[in-house]
């Protein structure tokens, strides 16, 4: 129970950067993103992805576009913006140094 609570809190803080990281490899449509994130245990369902995408879109981190080229109904693809790329770079730096510090502390306390 405690483990789950810690994991939930940590995931909440990094989720949008995980989305940016996934999109940095190329644009993806909603369900594709959701599947990637659920497989990695980062979200429980699509229900939490779209609200997050709404905020990221509002903050100019991602940009949606409709693609009608395939068969069936048009798809809505999400791509990372320049602002999003900058944010991801900044996050990667913070994560590296923070992770190293936390690891060092955990090593020391063992």
């Amino acid at each position: 129970m405690t483990e789950e609570r810690i994991a939930t809190n940590l995931r909440k803080g990094v989720l949008e950067y995980c989305v940016l990281a996934l999109l940095s490899h190329g644009e993806k449509y909603g369900l594709e993103l959701a599947d990637d994130l659920t497989t990695r245990g980062l979200i429980a369902s699509e229900g939490s992805l779209y609200p997050l995408l709404a905020r990221m879109r509002e903050n100019g981190l991602v940009e949606p576009r409709w693609d009608a080229s395939g068969t069936g109904r048009p798809r809505r693809y999400y791509a990372i913006t320049d602002v999003g790329t900058d944010q991801l770079k900044a996050f990667a730096q913070v994560w590296t140094s923070l992770g190293a510090q936390v690891n060092a502390l955990l090593e020391g306390s063992r």
């Binding site: 369902s45 229900g47 905020r55 949606p64």
Partner: protein, 301 residues
């Protein structure tokens, strides 16, 4: 097949309808974008061989889904209520302070023939405070109405002359705060209010000091270095407010309170002008700080 298609459209349409209805507080662009996401989700789920019911289920029930969207976009239901409550309490607090001031301090310092005020006078002066606190005490479902009525009644009271009561116009700051309690949650429901509001607030911030300086220049009183410095300081704060800095609102509100207290301690000829200016700065300051606080800051409360 036809029947199945109709059923599919049905599940999707009803989901979209509920989501659209529940996201009315968002801007049309924000709402349309979320609805597009939901439409795309149903289409992608269908391509992946999922039924519309499964697609709807994976989004969660529309109430929870829209609540999450609102929370992510800074539209927590508690956010506007928080603003309203703080402003309504400020209106009540200022009303109590005003009642004490006009009942005890004002007659004393004016050198009027001073009798110990009768209990009924004290009670009558506390009526505005009661009006200001009523919307908080009454049920939430009539809140919009009670808040509106309180603001109107307090404004009328401020401009009414009652026999045997001291200037009720001292209650105008209470009325200003009551109007703010009605207006601020509405204009800030979609996040930061439109630029026009903060520019108006900036102009109002600079108004009292500018009028003071103007009075000096027209010869009503002497222009001192202090007057000029005050005017410049308030002009600067007016600009900061117009730029949307939340902390400038807090400083301004503190200046408003200081001016109200100063008016009670040294009530001179212009006591009412100082009192109104204090009320105006307090109202603009608190409103501005609340409306421009980042959603996260409010949500943590």
């Amino acid at each position: 097949m036809t029947q199945r298609t109709a059923m599919n459209a049905n599940t999707e349409d009803s989901y979209l309808r509920v989501v659209g209805k529940r996201l009315r507080a968002l801007t049309p662009e924000q709402r349309d974008a979320v609805l597009d996401d939901v439409r795309a989700h149903f289409a992608e789920a269908a391509d992946a061989g999922r039924s519309p019911e499964q697609a709807a289920e994976s989004l969660g029930d529309p109430a929870t889904f829209t609540q999450r969207v609102r929370a992510e976009l800074g539209h927590e239901p508690g956010r506007t209520e928080h603003m309203w409550r703080i402003l309504q309490w400020f209106a009540t607090g200022v009303a109590v302070f005003t009642a004490l001031f006009v009942t005890y301090l004002l007659p004393d310092t004016r050198g009027d023939e001073f009798d110990e005020p009768g209990f009924e006078i004290v009670l009558l002066h506390l009526v505005p405070a009661l009006i200001a606190v009523l919307p908080i005490l009454l049920p939430a479902r009539v809140r919009r109405i009670t808040t509106t009525v309180a603001a109107i009644v307090l404004t009328v009271v401020s401009f009414t002359i009652f026999e045997g009561l001291y200037d009720l116009s001292f209650f105008l700051p209470t009325a200003m705060l009551a109007w703010a309690a009605l207006i601020v949650p509405i204009i800030a429901r979609n996040g930061r209010p439109a630029a026009g509001w903060r520019i108006t607030a900036g102009a109002l911030t600079a108004l009292p000091a500018s009028l003071g300086l103007l009075g000096g220049l027209l010869g009503s009183w002497e222009v001192t270095v202090e007057t000029v410095l005050y005017t410049v300081a308030f002009l600067l704060f007016g600009i900061l407010i117009a730029l949307g800095k939340p902390w400038a609102g807090i400083v301004l509100a503190a200046a408003g309170v200081a001016l109200l207290v100063e008016s009670t301690l040294n009530p001179g000829m212009l006591v009412l002008a100082g009192w109104w200016a204090g009320g105006l700065l307090l109202t603009v300051g608190v409103s501005h700080a609340l409306a421009h606080a980042r959603p996260r800051e409010l949500a943590q409360e």
